[in-house]
Structure formats: C-alpha cells, structure tokens
Symmetry: C2
Subunit: 451 residues, 2 copies
C-alpha cells in the first residue's frame, strides 16, 4: 500500500492537535451542562426531502447509496446532515410527546457539506449547538439565555488561549420594520443585498439594492445608512436608530418594538458578561430563516475567519400541522476555531499523550512490578504507561521526553530499595511511593495552552 | 410537516438514554486515558478502494455522492468507514513520520454499515477502539495490555450497572499449528467452518469441514474436538491441548509455541483482572485477518447479543512497501451495549437534564436575582437552570420534578430574606447561601445507575 495522502476538506489532527480539539469540546460541554442543557445526538443521516425542504441545495448535501443496493431500499433518499438545526427540529417533532418543554439541549457532532474546501471551510466539521425550544411559545429571556451561554463558552475558551470573541446581534423584527418603513416590501431581497455589503462595498450594494430589491437611489442610501448602525449598548442603539429613522421619515411606532427587543438583548447580555455583545444592523446572514434575534460572533484579530458562532430565533422551523415549536439557538463552528488555533500556532497541547508518568522497566522479568506501580497510580487517578521495552534508562527517558511525559518512575531505584520518580524537565529525582505520590495538578492531564 | 418516524437501524436516544450512553463513553475514555492511550479521530470517509481492499463488501459500505456533482470530483469514490481499524491503519501510514512508536491510541466514533438492521445490529453505531501499533515489531506484552485495558473498561462499566463481561481468547498461531498438524492446509476454510459451529451445531459443521475444507471424517471430528477446548487458566489449557493433540497424533513441537502464547495471555490477564479471561479455541471470527491473539467478549446473561468487544493482533494491516506496522487492538460495540442496557431496562439515568438545581422565579421583575443565584452556583461547579416562567411555585416544583431535578431554590424565601433550597424528594427545605451550599456529591451530576 502506498503512503496515503490527505483528503482536502476533511481535517484530521495529530494527537497534539486532538488534545486541543478535545479541550475545546470538553470546555463547551461543561459550560452547556452547567447551564442545564441536556446533551443529545441525532443520527448522521436525514431523508433528503427534509434536508432540502428549505431549498438548502447551496449546502451541497452528500447523498448516500449502499454499494450493494440493487433496488431502492429503506435507506434510499438519505443524505448526511449539513447542520444540527434541521435534525434537531426533526428530533423535536418525532419525540415531542416524550420531551419536556421548554426543551434545552446541546448537541456536539460532525456535519458534512460538499463545498469547495478553503481556509476555515471544511467538508466535514464539528459543530456544537445549543437551542431552547418551546411548545407553542418561547419567552424572550431564552434569546438572552443562549447568548449568555455562548459568551460564557467563549470566556471559558479564553483560559485555553483562545482570543476574545465579540457577539454581534441584530433583530429580524427591527430590520424588517425599518426596511418596510422605507417603503421596501421585499425585505428578504434587501437582506440578501445587505449581506454582500462587507464583500462588495457600499456602492455596489446600493446598485444591487436598486436592481434586486427595487429600491430608489434614496431608499438604497437609507438602507446603507441603517445597515451602518452599530452600538455597544441599548441606549446608544435607540439613539442611533431614532436619528437615522427620523431623518428618513420612519416613525417610531414602526420600529420601536423591534429596537426595544434588540436594545434589551444587548444590555441584558452585557449585564451578565460585560462588554461581550454589541448591536450591528449589518448582520443579515440567515435572516430569512430567523424571526427574532440574530447572532454572529467574531474572534478578535481573526475577523477574516468570518462568524465562528451564529444563530438566532426561529419560530417556524419545527411545526406539525398547526402546532409549532419556536426556538432559539446558536452553533459554534468548532473545527473552524480549532483549525485556526492550530494553524496559527495560537494554542498547543502540553503533551501528546494522557500519561503523566512513564514507569520504567528494569528488565523484562520485572515488568510485572512496573505494571503494579502503574496500576496503583491509576487507582489514584494518575494516567500512566509502562515503558515498552527494558531498554537502557537513558533511552526510556527519551521515550518519555518525545511524548512530553513529564515524569519517569524507577522501581526500587532508591538506596533502600524504595521507588524514585524523576521530573525529566528539571532532572530532580526523589523517593516516592505509588500509593501516595501525586504529580502537580497542572501536570496531571494534558492541557491546551497558549503557545 | 408531518410527524417524522424513526429510521430503522439508526438509533437515537431520548435525553435520559443519552445520559447512559455518555456515561459509558466517558467511562471508557477515562480508562483508556488512565492507561496513557492518546485520543484521535479520523475523518468519516475513506477512499472506496481502501474500504474494499480486504474484500469487505459484506460490510455493505455506504458510498457518497454530492447532490450537485455534475462530474466526478475530488470526493468521488468516497465511502463512510465501516469500522475504525481500516481508517486507523491509513492514519498510521499517512502520519507515520509524525507519530512515536509504539503508538497507543483510542478512538471513539460512529461507523456505518448498510446491513439489515436487527436486535443489536445497526446501520449507524458507536465503536470505541484501542490499538497499539509498533514500527516493524510489536512486543507480546501489548497483546496482554489491550486485553487488560478492555477488562478494566468492563470493570468500570459495572459501576454503572452493566453486567459482568467475560473475555474469550484464542490464538491464530495455535489453531493454525493444530489444524496443519491434523494435515489440513486450508486453515482459513477450516476456520470459516468452525465459525458456524455455534449456529449450525457439530454435525452440520463436520459435514461442512468435509465439503469445504477437504477434511476426512476423522479430521473433521478432530477439528471439532479441538474447537471444544476451553480453559480458565494456562495450565488447564496446556493440559487439554496436550491430551487432544497427542490422541490425534499432533506433536508438541508443532503446537507448543502457540499454546504457550495463549496460556501466557490468559494467565497474565487474569493475574491483573482476576477471573476475567478464558481460552476458547472455538473463537474463529476474523481469524483470517489476525495473526496472533484473537478476542471476543460476552456480557453475562446476554450471550445472545454476540460479542460486544472483539479484536486481535494483526501484523499486515498497515504496511507501506516493505515497512510494516504490526498492531493489536480491540473494539467496544458501544451502541450494541447501550441499546441492550436501555432496551432491557438494566441501566437508567438519575435524571434527564444536567441541572441539580432549578432556581425558582418569584416574578419576572426579579428574574435577574434568580439568574444571579444560578451564576454563583455555576462558578462553584453546580449545574443549574432558572425556571422558564414565574408560575406558581407548585408549578415550578413540578417543572423540576418532571426532569428529575432534585433541588428547587427559592430566593429570599426565609423569614429574614435569606434564600432557601428544597429537596423536592424529601420535601425538606433549608436556609442556604449560593456562595456556600453544595448538593450531595451523588446529586451533583446525572448518573447512569442500575434500575
């Protein structure tokens, strides 16, 4: 077999990289669980008609076929999920009778998209989602809640060396009111144009608004002015919206309720995680999908990555007949974050293996004694491994060093036959008893740290 | 949208079931890491030629196609992996220059097989694998090591209420020597027949041995007698092999080395995890793949499930040119185990959500005070959630009760305005301070327990 080569768009990490990814996943899971979100997983496949029901062909779904399927069977028409929101909506409908609402869940799984791979965009990647779904209704405070959980998630990730994140918030109710107030009724067309603003600039966007959304030159200018509104707190937001709207002749009773929602969200999130959120009326992406708050998140100094955690409120994603399950949620792009952390050398692992200790083997006859020491250490929660061969101690120490294992244990190495343990970083070697010795807490498990 | 129905073969758990599955996965991960195995993940897809290179069409590979692929692109000819061994062998070859050998890794991921779903057999399921792979050579003690890790894994699972497991071990070197010693050279044909023994019985197996493996009536009888050998320790194994082999005229120099390997393995594993392993010469499955020890595992009282953890030593799975990476490993069938635990009601979750505490809300105006209590509890590692509405306290308590949340927190409920916390199981309500109170350790997180 020839040496295989990587598949573009399907990232794989070496053990050191996986330590970092696992630390990110464990950190998010802990934050989600501290907030009482229940973990679920859904199957990787969904019926194609479900995957495509929002017209999501742009997501480039991967379709499955059994190699030996001679006829269409029960697994015909299945595709791999491209996100965790569509499967979650299906899960809620399928299991509604057995769930308790509001249902608060997190879900950490891989998803697949057959898109052209590029920096930060993969064909297989991890998402970590939280959502709250109600039965028929969903209180506004859950929109605040998911934003706070995300902000706390990013705060916890900072301890691993992840740069600070900034939550950019918009509200569908507000922008719909504003654009309608300007006399533009095809709000989705307006939003599709505004979505291109960052990429193509204001002049081309204005031209697009005229040709695609039927805007006059003045309406286009007003749209751009509105999209330019950004504010770090609710009062500033309200002042800016009032200023622009009154200059453009849009009355406060039109936009007031929406602006109030957004101002309250920004203020309540910042009250709980200071300075993390700001209003940004240019956030347009996915707005056709959402019905309330909309979120994007950028990593400071890495804005080129695009949004690394997005979501919003959706009132109509899951519904059976007249029964609806409105929800709000956000999705961390874990692979996008981790690939940047590793690729830019921001975060690394303290070592490549779990072992804090390598138990040396004096000779093969006494391997059982080394195994006994390792077993004792493990019962006390110390990850360790026994040397693979009774090589010279210098070689065994190099074996540990190459893997970043900080301690090497020598059975019966003391003058009186006691065991000794060496910190191979400092060279310090001390008498130790496997039933009592512990490594320093920061050496117990591999950690992800700023590099 | 109509209420969706389950897809046969693609299991999904309710939150309570996921608590059990997560507990099984966390338990195995901890055992693997305490033994110093490094966690990795591989992509879900492999090139079809890799997936099929061992002629594994029986595994019913799922092939991928991009919905919008108009021509064959870079992801043409990809299939979902059907196990974690083939991808691991590829990973080792691809990254050999960056790995340190012997490389000890665990890998916990879902795999897919388009097989007919039945009890304990799924189209999508979790496997949890450990393997040790050497560069050119691999010491025998690693065969012992992986068996010990598996045995300790099952021992740890017993604390969740999983029934005891029994490791059944055979050795390819031994059975090949014995069957050749009987004058049967097509050892793989013999093994394929023996593999059917449990299902079709000795008479039909003898007939098969005659027609498929070219055995005489006497050779067939000898094969069955050998396959009947089982022993709980090395000495008993050696005695039984000696007895049968000498009666059938097979000299000890033919089978001695193989029997010694198997006897030593059983004894060393039992020395470290007493009574867990026994030799069983009828274990034939997968032997064409393996070159040394072969393992199967049965759950006591649930032998009908078949093997729930299988593996063995393979010397030729990963090789590039003349360079080989011999390995030994085992794979836990996590979904098979979990589906039985849940289906038979053996193990359940103490609650469906992480929250140990529901912080009640007196009125919507004071929601921020309840959120502040929750935030304080979380900084101290107590998972909690705030009631979704300021309903009557009785309704808020029922909200907690339905989810199995043991404690409800009432802000300012004490006579002097102090907080109080109620254990809703006993009804006991006491004064508490969020900066000091902790639930009993067994209530802190949801647990999987015998039901």
């Amino acid at each position: 077999m020839a040496r295989p080569t990587p598949l573009s768009g399907f990232p794989e990490w070496l053990p050191e990289g996986r330590v970092v990814e696992q630390a990110v996943l464990d950190t998010l899971r802990r934050v989600f669980e501290l907030h009482g979100f229940a973990g679920i997983e859904t199957r990787a496949v969904e019926p194609l008609d479900q995957l495509l029901r929002k017209g999501e062909t742009s997501k480039e779904v991967y379709v499955l076929r059994r190699l030996q399927a001679e006829e269409e069977g029960s697994d015909a028409g299945l595709g791999l999920h491209f996100d965790l929101t569509v499967p979650f909506a299906r899960y809620v409908l399928e299991h509604a009778g057995k769930l308790h609402f509001p249902f608060r869940r997190y879900q950490i799984q891989k998803v697949w998209r057959g898109e052209r791979p590029q920096d930060g965009r993969f064909r297989e990647f991890y998402q970590a989602d939280i959502d709250v779904v109600g039965d028929g209704e969903l209180a506004f405070h859950h929109e605040v809640e998911v934003a706070v959980v995300v902000a706390e998630g990013f705060a916890a990730l900072r301890e691993l060396g992840v740069p600070p994140a900034r939550l950019l918030v918009n509200d569908r109710v507000l922008v719909e009111a504003l654009y309608r107030g300007l006399g533009l009724d095809d709000v989705e067309a307006v939003l599709r144009c505004i979505d291109k603003l960052a990429k193509i600039g204001p002049e081309a966007t204005a031209e697009l608004l005229r040709t695609e959304a039927g805007a006059s030159q003045e309406q286009a200018a007003a749209c751009l002015e509105l999209a330019g509104i950004a504010a770090d707190d609710g009062a500033a937001l309200l002042a800016r919206v009032r200023e622009v709207a009154s200059a453009r002749g849009v009355a406060e009773e039109v936009w007031g309720a929406g602006a109030e929602r957004l101002a309250r969200l920004v203020d309540e999130v910042n009250a709980r995680v200071p300075g993390v959120a700001s209003a940004d009326l240019a956030i347009a992406r996915g707005l056709d999908y959402y019905t309330g708050s909309v979120f994007e998140t950028v990593l400071e100094g890495h804005e080129d990555l695009g949004s690394i955690c997005s979501g919003g409120r959706y009132d109509a994603l899951a519904s059976a007949g007249s029964h609806t399950y409105p929800g709000v949620g956000l999705s961390f792009g874990v692979s996008r974050i981790v690939s940047r952390l590793l690729g830019a050398g921001l975060v690394g692992a303290t070592r490549a293996v779990p072992s804090a200790v390598l138990v040396a083997v004096t000779d093969e006859e006494s391997r059982a004694a080394s195994e006994a020491v390792a077993a004792t250490l493990r019962t006390r929660g110390v990850p360790c491994e026994v040397a693979p061969s009774a090589a010279k101690f210098g070689k065994q120490i190099r074996h540990a060093d190459r893997r970043g294992i900080p301690f090497v244990w020598f059975c019966g190495a003391g003058e009186d036959g006691t065991d000794q343990v060496k910190d191979i970083r400092s060279g310090e070697q001390v008498t130790a008893d496997a039933a009592e010795w512990l490594p320093p807490a920061e050496d117990l498990w591999p950690r992800a740290v700023r590099t």
